[in-house]
Symmetry: C2
């Protein structure tokens, strides 16, 4: 698969994918003889994984570290630790998000109430 196809498949710009490879957020992508990237299943998997993690807010730095460890033996525990730490971060974000959404709901309900009073004919 070309970078363009991968870019469309996962809705990530080709620039971003190249950037991810350059900084080590995804491992080196195989090339054709002419040097053009030719994504195999593994490479696609990494793109998909990085997209999922990044769109939830996992830091680039943590992913680079994880990918780096992934190709070294005996690093299972260190890899797990990274995942556990990131999971805890997401949990915090989750709580914060839930609380803020509730607060927004409350405020929205308030606006709906006062608008209902001011424009009772909107419903007529």
């Amino acid at each position: 698969m070309t970078i363009k196809e991968v870019s469309e498949k996962y809705d990530l710009s080709a620039d971003t994918i190249r950037y991810y490879e350059r900084i080590g957020l995804i491992p080196h992508v195989p090339r054709k003889e002419n040097g053009i990237r030719d994504f195999d299943e593994a490479a696609c998997g990494w793109v998909e994984f990085s997209k999922c993690m990044r769109s939830a807010g996992v830091q680039v730095e943590a992913l680079i570290e994880y990918v780096d460890l992934f190709f070294k033996e005996g690093t299972e525990e260190a890899r797990k630790d990274i995942l556990v730490e990131q999971r805890a971060r997401l949990q915090e974000q989750y709580e914060q998000l839930k609380a803020t959404m509730e607060r927004l709901d409350y405020k929205i309900a308030h606006y709906e109430e006062i608008m209902g009073k001011k424009c009772p004919n909107l419903k007529a």
Copy 2:
């Protein structure tokens, strides 16, 4: 209240609070005769609100717009629209977060499993 007290109360740097006021993310804070900020209850409320929204990921731009409208009459609907849009954004983040957390859980469980096999004596 001084900016330092407010900063400690809400765990936001004084720099950030001044920045928020400067860009209009919180309304103008009352001053003493010597020009020093003297936060009243309303000002504290705005700080708390902005902290809550920002830490959930609500954009600075949207909050500035909201605060701006807040002091103009007849903008209730526009204000509500901002809140509704931001609420939808948070909902999306929420879904993404949930999915990624589940994925991390799965990966973490996998590491725990292989580590259990490799080091069965850890439990002994």
